[in-house]
Amino acid sequence: MIVVVDYGAGNLRSVVNALESLGRGVSIADSPEPLRQATAIVLPGVGAFSDGMEGLRKRDLVEPLTEAVMGRRVPYLGICLGLQFLAREGLENGRHEGLGWLPGVVRRIEPPDARFKVPHIGWNDVQIRRRGVLLEGVEDPAVFYFLHGYHLDPGDADDAVTSTCFHGVTMAATLEHDNIFAAQFHPEKSQHAGLQLLENFLKAAGA
């Protein structure tokens, strides 16, 4: 069962629409029970890191997610906030704990040059380091839609970064580590390339 996690942060609808347009049925979970049957988990999210993590905590989702992803090794796709939550902590509006499944810190995007406006909003090229699962069949460079003011500084997890984007600073665009997959951009809003990425994840998850 493909589970899309609903923790009150932003636009669930687009992700569900995209997955359904690929011919998959999805379950939406805002409580722990559906996660126990999940064979693939998608965590989307646009919003503030702290507010999002609080949304997960309030719904008692943190332990069940960790058990599913780090325990049972259920394939996980994090989108935007769903990538940032992987970190140990986020520095938006203070210091907040993330899920801590990978090392790394979420920091504000700070370009050295005023020509680069923040938040990073719009379509940007993504430079592929290695194809992995997500980027199979995607052009190089591919163009995806980004919408974020903070980015994951991977620290010791740098090996997990499979592609990057540049906006004054070079930032992680996709990550892959074991059963964990994540994109900083929005595949559900990135038309063909984005749908290809989602299909790649679903296939790898056997979903």
Binding site: L12, V118, I121, L147, F166
Partner: protein, 250 residues
């Protein structure tokens, strides 16, 4: 590198797409916003902005229905606005499928709304729309769809909106809107130079050169309403022109 964006704007009144000139909304163009969005999906636009200018809040329910239906078919990012006056409203629109939400009048009346929304939803979801009447030093922010003048200068208000947490500025020259004479480029440049967030230029574009000029004035995105509804295959042609002029578009 981050591309410059081409953004069609759908102005809706009571669920139908209308034509707008100097903020006086005149004839209905399409009864069905879905038709417009269908075209845009095929013609590689970068984002869509949908603004509700219904005269009463009762016509709002129709707008929610439209937003929900549009989000099912809209595979590019969608920014939604008009009458947004609370965090609950923002949350509701995001859940219906909006990627970004626009604040305008209420943000001026109660600036704390911007920070409340930025803290709850993240700055990247919050666009502050600034409508301007007058040029250069006489330029002033107007609210309530142009009905009420304020003493705010656009650059000052844009800076303050950014400090409060706006992630983008949607900048409209009411004087230029619907006239087809191009953006107020001095206004665009002044606001772009004053803030560190992206600025979307709106109001007055009707020729492809106007879009290029908007980019050269520093806009991260160029938006237009009427032109995209009246010219066939227009967004594709607009991008071809922009590309030929050296603008990095998708």
């Amino acid at each position: 590198m981050l591309k410059k964006r081409l953004v069609p704007v759908l102005v809706l009144r009571d669920g139908a797409v209308v034509r707008s000139v100097n903020f006086k909304h005149t004839n209905v163009i399409h009864w069905r916003p879905l038709t417009a969005v269908d075209f845009f999906n095929k013609w590689a636009v970068d984002e869509i902005v949908v603004l509700d200018v219904s005269r009463t809040k009762d016509e709002r329910q129709k707008f929610y229905e439209v937003v929900e239906r549009l989000s099912r078919k809209c595979f590019v990012p969608m920014t939604v606005g008009g009458w947004v006056d609370s965090t609950e409203e923002v949350r509701a629109l995001l859940r219906l499928g909006a990627d970004k939400v626009v604040l305008n009048t209420e943000a001026v009346r109660r600036p704390a709304l911007i920070s409340e929304c930025a803290v709850a939803f993240g700055s990247q979801c919050i666009v502050v729309s600034i409508d301007v009447v007058g040029a250069k030093n006489a330029a002033r922010v107007h609210i309530d769809r142009g009905a009420e003048a304020t003493t705010l200068a656009p650059v000052d208000w844009a800076r303050r909106a950014q400090t409060l947490g706006a992630g983008e500025i949607f900048l409209t020259s009411i004087d230029r809107e619907g006239t087809g004479t191009g953006y107020d480029l001095a206004l665009v440049r002044a606001v772009v130079d004053a803030v560190g967030v992206p600025v979307i230029a709106f109001g007055g574009a009707f020729e492809w050169q106007h879009l290029v000029d908007g980019i050269l004035a520093g806009a991260a995105a160029v938006a237009a309403a009427n032109v995209f509804h009246f010219t066939e295959h227009s967004t594709k042609k607009a991008k071809e022109f922009m590309r030929a002029a050296g603008v990095d578009v998708r």
